[in-house]
């Protein structure tokens, strides 16, 4: 297992913890993410077919496609949470297992038991566990850093609440704060805007832009076609196969959408509207 190696602490890492951001490991020219020939199947039914995807530079990428297109599965396959029938994934030129420190993750909200006996701050602190390594408990530094992360998502005043007492949007923000606490370079977010209120959605979007400005890469599984051009500068269109990927301006086109969604009119109209709105604003 490569996992234990990534948890070992060294002097340099200890320094990094005190504020200096990690530089991505690997040769400087290596792409942020390199997905090569990935196929995933559940009970022999393919969910993802031969996905090849290279992201060279930091971007805000929306992963878009119809229901059951394998959007979440793609993220989980990249992160090693579901077994790949074939293919390989590299982050900054190295296998994911060697780059855990650079990866932030926001799972789907339904993936955990919200009745679990922990507070909001406890959950955010979990983001610092990876850097702490084995057996070391989070201390004052981790606590104040986690509070800072909560501040950034507008949740600092709820730090002591048990997580079951939060609204859906607040739960989602808690997960985002935990991902921020990881101090990652590449973030993977599984439907962070599903079932949240507009204020949370706006807060998430503001955060995404912040992350991009500071040179991070964010992959977001997204379900609302209307907001794709506004939110993301890079689009990954998926429907079991990779339909298209590239800058949103060129990739998010009616032709590509038709390839992904078939001829379903309502969806295409909504998307067309979004495209027109973007053209008008340019």
């Amino acid at each position: 297992m490569t996992t234990s190696a990534s948890l070992d602490r060294t002097e340099a890492e200890a320094k990094a913890k005190d504020g200096a951001p990690d530089r991505p490991a690997g040769p400087p020219s290596s792409p942020v993410l390199d997905v090569h020939d990935v196929t995933v199947a559940y009970h022999r039914k393919p969910v993802l077919w031969d996905v090849d995807l290279t992201i060279d530079r930091p971007c805000l990428a929306g992963i878009v496609g119809p229901n059951g297109a394998g959007k979440s599965t793609l993220i989980k396959a990249i992160l090693g949470l579901v077994p790949k029938a074939s293919g390989s994934v590299r982050v900054f030129g190295k296998p994911v297992g060697a780059q855990r420190r650079l990866i932030g993750y926001v799972p789907q909200r339904e993936s955990v038991d919200w009745d679990f006996p922990v507070t909001v701050l406890d959950v955010v602190l979990m983001g610092t566990y990876g850097r702490l390594g084995w057996f070391r408990r989070p201390g004052r530094a981790e606590r104040s850093w986690s509070m800072e992360c909560l501040e950034r998502v507008g949740m600092a005043h709820l730090a002591d609440r048990q997580i079951g007492q939060l609204s859906g949007g607040q739960q989602q923000r808690t997960f985002l704060a935990r991902a921020l606490a990881q101090r990652a370079e590449v973030y993977f977010m599984d439907e962070p805007m599903a079932g949240v209120d507009a204020a949370t959605e706006a807060a998430i979007f503001a955060l995404l832009r912040d992350l991009k400005t500071s040179g991070k890469t964010v992959f977001v599984v997204h379900h609302d076609l209307r907001t794709v051009p506004e939110y993301f500068d890079y689009t990954i269109l998926l429907n079991m196969r990779l339909i298209a990927h590239g800058p949103t301006a060129t990739t998010f086109s009616p032709e590509n959408l038709r390839k992904a969604y078939g001829g379903r009119l309502a969806i295409l109209e909504a998307a067309g509207e979004a495209v027109r709105a973007r053209e008008r604003s340019e």
Partner: protein, 425 residues
């Protein structure tokens, strides 16, 4: 009087209970309660086989046999789930009954076999018996409890994360499989060592009850573990003491009944999560809603009568299809008792808001109108945001939305201004 023997027995059962409570909390949180039950039942054939192999009742040998067949049972469960389409509950049910059935048959075989040593001890593993615990057993039990305590104290955050969000833990690089296996191992040890005391049939209850009871008292993991251990300790001690004093009573059922008592008390009387506490707070909330409604009605009235603040007849506010609504009338009595509403011309006469009452009424009216406005402006978010239990919208809505709603209310003249209806003095 405590004899040395009684002391040993109490020490053993107390430790067992505390340990079962500690690791059982994780079983409860990880939704593995039934796995613990299957493990206990699946331990029986291993116990019997070890007895047959050794030829007499030897605790270490029998516990080793129990551990092996218990773990084998759990392995069969996870194998069934992975390799076939059998779902978890069915797999647990199958393994539990098959292993237990085999165990009962084996125990009869032993009973009927001539020339074997003391067989009397074997039945006690089915329903539990504490009298046989000796010093050596206590040392063993103490060792197991110490291992659990040290591991959980050391890897506290690792276990916490693994149980709460295994996916996230894996992405962060933790060996979730091994951590989970270690927890399962601790659970298996707790179960197996509890067998002589509680017996295979009821062991799961000792594992589950303390943790489930502790969850009612706290919303934090650390205190929950401590409390569950304490509950386990008390359950073990009290159960043992009671069963020792009543001849012929198997320890398992008594201990489980004591544990159920602790659980029942928790379910009923825990302050926030308990049934009584919740009923009480629901009752308070209903009263509070009535008071808020009344204050709002009085405020609307005062606003309409602006600038004067005239006392009004009770019946103007307390109107219902069948006479004055009883709950609202009671709420009025409470407001009068509190001094928020006064009766200038004596009890039963016209009523009017006092200065403090006006203050509260204005706050209530503001909150209500902000909510109302919010539902009009953002109907699609009603379900995500609307929360009647909060008096102030500011707790739920972001500040810019609150400002925007307030502005809209001001424009339409519906914002309860500070001076509104102030009592003419």
């Amino acid at each position: 009087m405590l004899t040395y023997n009684t002391l040993i027995v109490l020490l053993g059962t107390g430790l067992l209970g505390a340990n079962a409570g500690l690791v059982g909390s994780y079983a409860v949180l990880r939704r593995r309660s039934l796995t613990g039950d299957a493990l206990a039942h699946a331990a029986l054939p291993g116990l019997c086989l070890a007895f047959l192999a050794v030829g007499q009742r030897s605790l270490p040998a029998m516990l080793a046999g129990a551990l092996l067949s218990g773990v084998a049972g759990v392995a069969v469960i996870s194998g069934l789930i992975r390799a076939t389409r059998v779902k978890e509950d069915a797999a647990i049910g199958i393994v539990l009954s098959v292993f237990f059935g085999a165990g009962i048959v084996l125990s009869r075989v032993i009973q009927n076999a001539p020339g074997l040593g003391n067989k009397a001890g074997l039945d006690s593993y089915i329903l539990g018996k504490t009298a046989g615990i000796i010093r050596q057993d206590v040392l063993l039990i103490g060792g197991v409890s110490a291992v659990s305590l040290v591991l959980i104290a050391l890897a506290y955050k690792e276990f916490k994360l693994t149980v709460f969000d295994p996916g996230f833990a894996r992405v962060q690089g933790w060996p979730v499989f091994w951590l989970d296996l270690m927890l399962m191992g601790l659970i298996a040890l707790a179960v197996v060592f509890g067998l002589p005391m509680v017996g295979v049939v009821l062991m799961a209850a000792l594992l589950i009850l303390p943790g489930a009871a502790a969850r009612f008292w706290t919303d934090r993991l650390g205190p929950m573990l401590a409390l569950a251990s304490a509950f386990g300790l008390v359950t073990g001690l009290a159960g043992t003491a009671i069963s020792a004093h009543s001849a012929g009573m198997p320890a398992g059922p008594i201990i489980v009944l004591v544990g159920s008592g602790v659980f029942l008390v928790s379910v009923l009387s825990a302050p926030r999560r308990g049934v009584l506490g919740r009923a009480l707070s629901a009752w308070r909330f209903r009263r509070e809603l009535q008071e808020r409604k009344l204050l709002r009605l009085l405020f609307d009235r005062a606003e309409a009568d602006r600038p004067a603040l005239r006392p009004i007849d009770r019946s103007a506010i307390l109107q219902g299809p069948s006479g004055p609504p009883r709950r609202l009338a009671k709420a009025l009595d409470r407001l009068i008792a509190r001094g928020d509403v006064v009766e200038p011309s004596g009890p039963g006469g016209p009523i009017v808001l006092s200065d403090t009452g006006m203050e509260r009424a204005r706050a209530v009216a503001r909150g209500y109108r902000l909510w109302e406005r919010f539902l009009i402006e953002y109907p699609e978010q009603a379900s995500a945001m609307a929360d009647l239990s909060r008096e102030s919208v500011a707790e739920v809505l972001p500040p810019d939305v609150v400002r925007e709603l307030e502005e809209a209310l001001r424009k339409s003249g519906q914002w309860p201004e500070d001076g509104t209806g102030g009592r003419s003095s």
